[in-house]
Symmetry: C2
Subunit: 193 residues, 2 copies
């Protein structure tokens, strides 16, 4: 069991409806030393890959991506969820359905910050059905850039997102893959990696 799986067992809370609350260390309060360890681990898993940029999506991906980027010495670009008046110029856009918020967002990335020469590591906190991730991949493709890899903190292995992405041939590295969880018994079982 790795450091993230141990932390999930210690501080994660299993709720009804396959909700895993990790807001005490991952996506509301953030344990930055944990993120630093995650950066170290991704650096190992993507060693030898050419990476020029990290792409993530607001809001909860940003903290992880920023600290992970210190290990790769590249800038982070985060996709924004709404049009801002301060974001002029041309945009890459994709539609993303949110399971959490039960709505559809347009995500946008300025064309200034992703181009055909980029080799992109996509970082996000959660992977479930994969909608956010598919939107980010779509944006990388619009830029003519390469998806060099995908680093996820927690994957819900019982949902289809991870399988689809792996079937498409991407190197997807999830630090913890939840195989099943049970709100009644408060248990979480991880996939062996």
């Amino acid at each position: 069991m790795n450091f993230l799986e141990e932390r999930i067992l210690k501080d994660g809370v299993v709720k009804e409806g396959n909700v895993l609350k990790v807001d005490s260390f991952l996506n509301h309060q953030m344990d930055v030393e944990l993120f630093d360890k995650m950066g170290e681990e991704y650096a190992k898993r993507f060693a030898g890959k050419k990476i020029t940029k990290i792409l993530t999506i607001e809001a909860s991906g940003i903290g992880i991506a920023a600290i992970v980027a210190l290990h790769f010495h590249v800038p982070v670009v985060f996709a924004k969820k709404t049009q801002s008046i301060n974001l002029d110029g041309e945009m890459y856009t994709a539609e993303v359905e949110s399971f959490t918020h039960k709505n559809v967002n347009t995500i946008i990335v300025s064309k200034k910050f992703l181009g055909p020469d980029d080799h992109v590591l996509i970082i996000d906190d959660f992977l479930a059905n994969g909608c956010a991730l598919q939107g980010l991949i779509q944006i990388v493709k619009q830029a003519g850039a390469e998806v060099a890899g995908i680093g996820i903190a927690i994957e819900k292995g019982f949902q289809s997102g991870g399988r689809i992405i792996r079937n498409l041939g991407y190197q997807l590295e999830s630090l913890a893959i939840v195989e099943e969880m049970d709100a009644a018994t408060k248990t979480v079982r991880f996939r062996e990696q």
Copy 2:
């Protein structure tokens, strides 16, 4: 002139309506090595202060706050702008007007992550009229915690936010204070610090 002021002159873009675009390094694409220098600088400016937690607000404060937190060895809590179904339990809340988006958001922080024993360093990317900052201060007060200090990347010194906060007695450290800027001549003048 410090490293952030130099970077603003090099890569910032002055637009009509007192808009300073720093999206190439601060709030869309993020230069994490720059954030690391900012963390170093805040560590100097707040040396000797007891700090147990960093508080910021989504989305563009998160990357800076996460990397700054590595220099203080404390967790980050970020205030969220909308109610999420994954955020149950009791919340601290405040109303914040957004100049950029021309709307009013409720910002929320779970009561689990801020309490009377906390000494809070507030971090954000921009300070203009101070609405976001006042909302964060209000949340710290609701928690019965202490505002140990406030670290801002770029303050618009010609708007009232900074003056009000300093008049209230807070230690507010802005790494760059824009005294005036001119879209016609593309110039920025900083306050001497």
